[in-house]
Symmetry: C2
Subunit: 327 residues, 2 copies
DNA sequence: ATGAAAGCGCTAACAG
DNA sequence: CTGTTAGCGCTTTCAT
């Protein structure tokens, strides 16, 4: 591996000239430039990021913190993050916490150790106090999550309104017995979506039946099945279900099918996220689409602003109700 | 951000001592150690990886090259890679090529620029010549793919045998009209799986019907639907289908359902990969399970061996036929 | 057990 | 337009 010194020697110029050529070829004289190009080519030189990074005290790496990469919701957000990061000359470190604090610790330390220039946190289970402490000392934005205290810059959607739209849609097509499959209320978005659900019911004068809210302890397929199983066992069975994630809805769909019931004729179903699988089920799933790619892209812009010391406002993006076969 | 110098000054020792404390606390005297610990704590010192990396000329980063993170097959392999890498003190850079050469180029350059210590390539569409060139100059292993010339170390399964097992299973439960949904034969695994399909037919004296092989040009859900649509339009319709990926099989399932046919009664279906979604469909999918996690884990071990200059043999892992409701 | 000093590869004043 | 020089923060001989 050739170094900048060797190239300088070969080209008969100083290392500064090589560095200038690398960073701004225009400012070196045409004649010199040609000599440099020649030397670089014959030595097969590639500049070392290690040297550059130390000198500029930056890594051009962004940490993306998420619970798990296997959740299709995140994969689309990541696409937005990645494309924008590359465009801006950054690379991303995808960090799965699996909701384990010790993993989280590793990634926060990488930030402290200057291995990354900033963090995009998408983990809802992250330790709040630690996150705030990091946010105070390093560039950090939250994506799809946010802290109610508003200390941390974020990009998200209006979860209350999105849930309201979903349930309103079910009411509009004639449903009155509407259940909700929610995730734990320790999550802010779960509390907000429940509010939207309640507001929609309330507005239409439909009484709230606590029997029809099922709270899962995770967002996996099986949790959706269990939830539906429970709902189907109630004395009065709902005719429509709003699930706060497509995977939960797909689990519910499975259970409905197993019981010999049909969607949407016996039970209508609305999911959340518009993951690609939601279009592969039989029937396809009505769902709330979040602007996932845009969320990712925006977070990068905001984070890079922060890295460059600029002030950035939090932002709330629009969602969309996608009506398909399940309602 | 405190530096090692400041800590040294505060503790009244030399920077060398701080460095020793950081890397091997045992070799510094107990009394000095305490002074150092005190200084580190009061200054809130965190060592900079940038300095360390330059000095040791390593980045402790591994590039993982894959077509797309949204394919669930890769997510599980990645889990194996990530866990093992972290255990070994490395971090991973997940790099999606989207099968675009220019993206590939970026990541190869990162390697040349010493931003990573090695590459795990899982991309079947990678430019072969370039890959070999990189492999000659840098630590690189292939995961789930391999080059027939055998220059590059790899970890994979026996695709021919896996396909053979899948088709043999269909024959055993009484099928004779067995179609195959394959991906393009530019992919080695596609050619190998076709060989396995043919061998199984041949061994049971079932004549090969070229009408029943459909070659898709991608691995998406819609390609599976199109393939099935075509197969259902043939003069003679097969009673069983072997698809080389679960996503293709799920697409086929959708099309079968739309035509009012039932799986497995009218048509039996076997997929490949055992992605988590293959257990969420109605009916659940019979499939070939690859040891994805282990493949990821092994690749990291092999790559780190290479990084450390040790010789490493390629390896072929076992697959497993998982019989579920679709057959 | 500790310190002094060199240097990893690069960039950025500064001077000319 | 180009060269000289001083580091960025760390590790690692080589002495002591």
């Amino acid at each position: 591996m050739a170094t900048i010194q060797e190239v300088a020697q070969k080209a008969g110029v100083s290392v500064a000239t090589i560095s200038r050529y690398l960073n701004n070829p225009a400012i070196v004289a045409k004649e010199t430039r040609e000599k440099v190009e020649q030397a670089i080519k014959t030595l097969n030189y590639e500049p070392s990021m290690l040297g550059r990074n130390l000198r500029k005290s930056e890594s051009r790496l962004l940490i993306v913190l998420l619970p798990s990469i296997s959740n299709p919701f995140y994969t689309e957000v990541i696409n937005g993050i990645e494309d924008t990061a590359i465009e801006k000359g950054y690379n991303i470190l995808l960090c799965q916490t699996d909701s384990k604090p010790e993993r989280e610790e590793i990634y926060f330390n990488m930030m402290k150790n200057r291995l990354a220039d900033g963090i995009i946190s998408m983990d809802p289970t992250v330790d709040r106090a630690k996150l705030i402490e990091i946010a105070k000392n390093f560039p950090l934005v939250q994506c799809s999550e946010y802290d109610e205290e508003g200390i941390i810059t974020y990009v998200t959607i209006d979860n209350e309104l999105a849930a309201y739209h979903a349930v309103k849609h079910l009411i509009k097509i004639g449903h009155k017995k509407i259940a909700m499959i929610n995730s734990g209320e320790k999550f802010l978005y779960a509390r907000e979506r429940k509010q939207g659900y309640l507001r929609a019911l309330n507005e239409s004068g439909i009484p709230f039946n606590p029997d029809w809210i099922f709270t899962t302890d995770n967002l996996e397929f099986d949790a959706g099945r269990q939830a539906m199983k429970s709902l189907l066992g109630k004395s009065e069975i709902p005719t429509a279900v709003f699930a706060v994630s497509d995977i939960l809805a797909i689990g519910a769909l499975k259970e409905i099918n197993l019981k010999g019931l049909a969607v949407p004729d016996d039970i209508a179903l609305v999911g959340f996220d518009k993951i690609s699988f939601s279009n592969m089920t039989q029937p396809t799933l009505t769902t709330i689409s979040q602007p996932m790619y845009q969320m990712g892209s925006m977070s990068v812009h905001m984070l890079i602003n922060k890295i460059n010391g600029k002030h950035t406002e939090s932002i709330i993006l629009d969602h969309e109700l996608v009506i398909r076969e399940s309602t």
